[in-house]
């Protein structure tokens, strides 16, 4: 399994689309690693610096409809090669969400009030989130406070994460 424990990048916006996550002009790359410098290059978010802000991050916390638009799996790959294996949001676009689990990564949905609380209580400080897949719990910690948040993980999503993605799962089964 991938690493699901580390520092949080807060992206305080809804409808962040796959063109923003990885612009189409980089889709000519044929290795995942080549996408690394371009993650979130076109993100429209005041004060965001894609060179500095994504360093050492493992978890993204954001708002509604993350990953809308194109089907490009380059979006999860660009996150993955930067060490980001978890996105926590109010909701996801279908294809992006499936692409995350298909890669053995996690797209975790939380209700609006829990997302609001994460932004209100943690976005100003260095925050760490550890995902416990067995217990379906998030351990959130900053220098000032900490809490445990329950989340829902479907059976199929869980097995994809445990088996390292859909190709491994499907190849063993079909």
């Amino acid at each position: 399994m991938k690493n699901f424990n580390g520092k949080v990048l807060f992206l305080d916006r809804s409808d962040i689309n796959t063109d923003e996550i990885i612009p189409a002009k980089y889709l000519t790359e044929i290795t995942k690693e080549a996408l690394k410098p371009y993650l979130l290059e076109d993100l429209s978010l005041k004060g965001f610096d894609n060179k500095e802000d994504i360093k050492d991050k493992v978890v993204v916390v954001t708002r509604e409809n993350f990953g809308c638009g194109s089907s490009r799996e380059h979006a999860p790959w660009a996150l993955e090669v930067n060490g980001i294996n978890v996105v926590i949001a109010e909701s996801f676009a279908r294809i992006f969400r499936q692409n995350m689990f298909n890669c053995g990564m996690m797209a975790i949905e939380l209700p609006k009030e829990k997302i609001d609380n994460l932004f209100n209580n943690y976005s100003g400080s260095i925050t760490n989130i550890e995902v416990d897949i067995e217990k379906a719990k998030l351990f959130v910690t900053s220098s000032e406070q900490s809490e445990v948040i329950d989340f829902e993980l479907g059976g199929f999503d869980k097995v994809l994460v445990q088996e390292g993605g859909w190709v491994n799962y499907a190849d063993n089964r079909y």
Binding site: P23, L27, T28, C68, A93, G154, F156, W166
Partner: protein, 428 residues
């Protein structure tokens, strides 16, 4: 309790249901293009599993960057081309015979009512116009599709639009879908199929239905779907005539691919669209939609007519009908991309290409081209494009540019004026 069309397609294709909300379906078609397929191919090779489940069910095209613009895109084309040859994938469309995937695959008769189809392209939802379940997927789903001929989906939910009345002159399927996306918002149909029904859809050509279904994804929808009818049969007839004795027999066979009257929907919308005006987007989300009249006078720099949304013959006829005998404004540049070679040939024979060229349009080869700013027609920062495509995301056609989505009629009229304008201004 009756079933929706998508539920019926799931029932007919289910391999297993490993979890209550997970349905693994057998695939009738796996469509491939050169942007999202090469990494699936190289991964299969790296795993020592360079195989395909059924070469006759896999169709491939180079469409996003064609001709190749640099070494990287040449390499992507080569990976797809070599793979298609290696596995004897007969339906592979290379430059000269290639077109925009969601235009050329239906045109070749590859899409049939009741089919399951995946492609590594979000606008795969277009093919629902034929009464198929067609969904955009990522490269990993595509890879498993290529290898095993299956794909997993959540339990299908459907919302239904019952569209009554009639479209006014100058108002087209594009205006209707922009209006619907505005109503649904960009995630109003996430994880759902959008069924388009009613007299308005019954009257539509397959081209218009494809325009409607193409943009289902812009509301988050998995697929846009229409019931097959005689219009569907007529469109497919060349490819199905050996299968059925008559068009009536084909229609009878396809008529099982409709929803039951007592099917269960997430929501049903009823609209009389007789008063609908031409629509256009502003901003950077496809649900940011206003009437053309509200946006009249907005300055534009480039016009683009083409794409899987509006690059078909009907679209070119409508645009050329407005441009005939006129010149585009000195303040704009304009590009038209017929979506397939067959459309290009028809447009030549009908004199449409001459009209576009005389009006000052650049006519490109069939390609996805300017739509996603990958190969041609890229905007400079601060520029605006009147475009018949499907996405107006920030940077979509070039960093710092703005895309206004609209119908081919509105785009053609706006080319003449140099600002966004209602096409009725130039009605013949």
């Amino acid at each position: 309790m009756g079933k929706t069309l998508v539920e019926k397609i799931f029932d007919a294709h289910r391999v297993e249901q490993p979890y209550p909300d997970t349905h693994v379906l057998k695939l009738d078609r796996v469509f491939c293009h050169e942007i999202t397929t090469p990494i699936a191919i190289t991964d299969l090779m790296a795993r020592g599993k360079d195989r395909v489940f059924d070469p006759s069910k896999i169709k491939a095209v180079i469409d996003h960057v064609t001709p190749a613009k640099d070494s990287k895109t040449a390499e992507q084309g080569k990976i797809l081309r070599d793979w298609a040859r290696r596995h004897e994938i007969k339906d592979f469309f290379d430059i000269g015979r290639n077109g925009v995937c969601h235009a050329i695959f239906p045109e070749k008769g590859f899409v049939r009512p009741g089919y399951t189809i995946i492609m590594g392209d979000s606008h795969t939802c277009t093919h629902g116009a034929f009464g198929a379940f067609a969904a955009g997927v990522g490269t990993t789903d595509l890879e498993v599709g290529i290898l095993k001929g299956v794909c997993a989906f959540k339990s299908p939910k459907t919302i239904k639009f019952n569209l009554k009345g009639s479209l006014q002159p100058g108002v087209y399927a594009k205006d209707l879908i922009l209006f619907i996306i505005k109503e649904l918002t960009v995630n109003g149909a996430t994880n759902m199929a959008i069924e388009f029904t009613g007299p308005v859809v019954d009257e539509m050509s397959m081209e218009s239905r494809m325009t409607l279904c193409n943009m289902a994804i812009e509301a988050g929808g998995t697929v846009g779907i229409c019931y097959p009818d005689m219009t569907t049969v007529e469109y497919l007839w060349e490819y199905i005539k050996d299968e059925f004795g008559s068009k009536e027999e084909a229609l009878k066979n396809y008529s099982k691919w409709v929803s039951d009257a007592d099917a269960s929907y997430e929501k049903i919308y009823e609209y009389d669209i007789s008063k609908l005006e031409p629509m256009v987007t502003f901003g950077y989300k496809p649900d940011q939609v206003k009437s053309v009249n509200e946006m009249t006078g907005t300055k534009i720099d480039q016009i683009y007519i083409g794409s899987c949304t509006n690059g078909r013959i009907e679209d070119l006829r409508i645009a050329a009908g407005i441009l005939k005998g006129k010149m585009i404004s000195d303040n704009v540049r304009a590009i038209v991309s017929p979506a397939t070679p067959a459309i290009y040939t028809m447009a030549l024979k009908e004199g449409l290409i001459e009209i576009f060229q005389s009006a000052g349009f650049c006519v490109t080869n069939p390609t996805c081209g300017a739509c996603l700013g990958m190969s041609n027609g890229v905007l400079a920062s601060g520029e605006a494009c009147a475009s018949t495509t499907n996405r107006n995301f920030n940077g979509r056609m070039g960093k710092g540019g703005v895309v206004h989505l609209m119908s081919p009629a509105t785009a053609a009229a706006s080319a003449i004026t140099g600002t966004i304008v209602n096409s009725q201004l130039y009605k013949g």
